[in-house]
Amino acid sequence: MESEKQQWFEVKEVGGSLWHFRFMLWITCHLPLRIVELCTALVCFFFWLGAKPVRARSNVYLEHLAKVRGSRKPFMGTYKHVLSFALSMIEKLLGWRGAIKLQNIETQGDDLDKLVEQLDRGEGAFLLCSHLGNMEMLRSLTGYGEIHTHKEFTVYPVVDFSGTSKFNALLYELNPDLMNIVLDANKIGVDSAVWMKEKIAAGNVVVIAGDRTSANSQGRNVEMDFMGDKANFPEGAFTLASILNAPIYFVFAIRKHDFDIRSSYEMHVVKAKTSFDCSRKERPERIRLLVQEYTQLLEKYCQVHPYQWYNFYNFWKKQT
């Protein structure tokens, strides 16, 4: 049971020393992408063979998904899931080295316009993203801003560093400027809450993942129907939304082709119906509604791009 308790965030960096990541970076930068993809597929295969707990958790997710879609579980699905995750890491490194190309992003004619209009008025926003697709793409919003909005603004990401310290050290080397505007999700206190509120009031954007799980977030959960079963989502990000009380948007940037890192992206922006212009008493119910909106969208997009949900965590595990 003890090993079962060891969750994904503790397993994530198995065998990963900074040296490994550096090597990975070198390969990524110096070899043709086709070869990089091939190498990744090979390395992943051996990782996949050896990583039983990861396979097991991936399997739980894919089983739920198959039930919802009414289809059979795909052949080698857990391997594809791991491979897709590895590709996303490479994608991340590439993204941090250089600018994200705007022409690679396909907007969907959704609430993105609302968001842009709002930012143009100098009003900030709170964005809820997820581990589905590439979160780095959200940074492109600022670039998008240069072209489509008149106002300049910054995207401040709230990130959980606890599981990926070495990888993050490398990201820092690649782009120290970017790392300086990142907030550590495990250190949110009075100071950072005030700071975020001020940043949003000044017309900027704060973004956090709603499907974040870490050792620190196992306290408060919201139980929610997710892929046909009761799941527990950590409340933290949604509580933060309620405290900051800014307009909330859900954002998803998903690779169009699951296993091609040169693929273009589709960016979905949906404005949340839930707001927090209510008394504190009503707040828990509003938080529930917000989680519900979020999980429904997540479920919808997971069905289209199952392997791009980089969450190897059992959300459906019964709380004891």
């Binding site: 206190g189 405290i243 008394s279 504190r280």
Partner: protein
């Protein structure tokens, strides 16, 4: 100082929407957080909101050092001391 403390208490009651609590019910040196006999028993979420309320009402922010912040949030007394020391006249 007494005036400031009353203001702080009123701010706590208003921002946290505490019902059946008046400023005179809050003891100056009682711990605001956690279980205690004469305290309010607030939690970490309440702390975040108090921080925002203090910024809005008194124009005072808190440093990045969290342990220090905890000390300032101990009671109405410590909050009053911190606010009066950091408030710009």
């Amino acid at each position: 100082m007494t005036e400031l403390k009353t203001k702080i208490k009123e701010m706590i009651i208003k921002s946290l929407e505490l019902e059946d609590v008046t400023a005179s019910d809050i003891v100056d040196d009682a711990p605001l957080f956690g279980e205690s006999e004469n305290g309010l028993g607030l939690d970490s979420i309440d702390a975040l909101e108090l921080g925002i309320a203090i910024k809005e009402n008194f124009g005072v922010s808190f440093s990045v050092v969290n342990d220090e912040t905890k000390k300032h949030f101990y009671s109405v007394d410590t909050l009053a001391a911190y606010i009066s020391a950091n408030q710009q006249k």
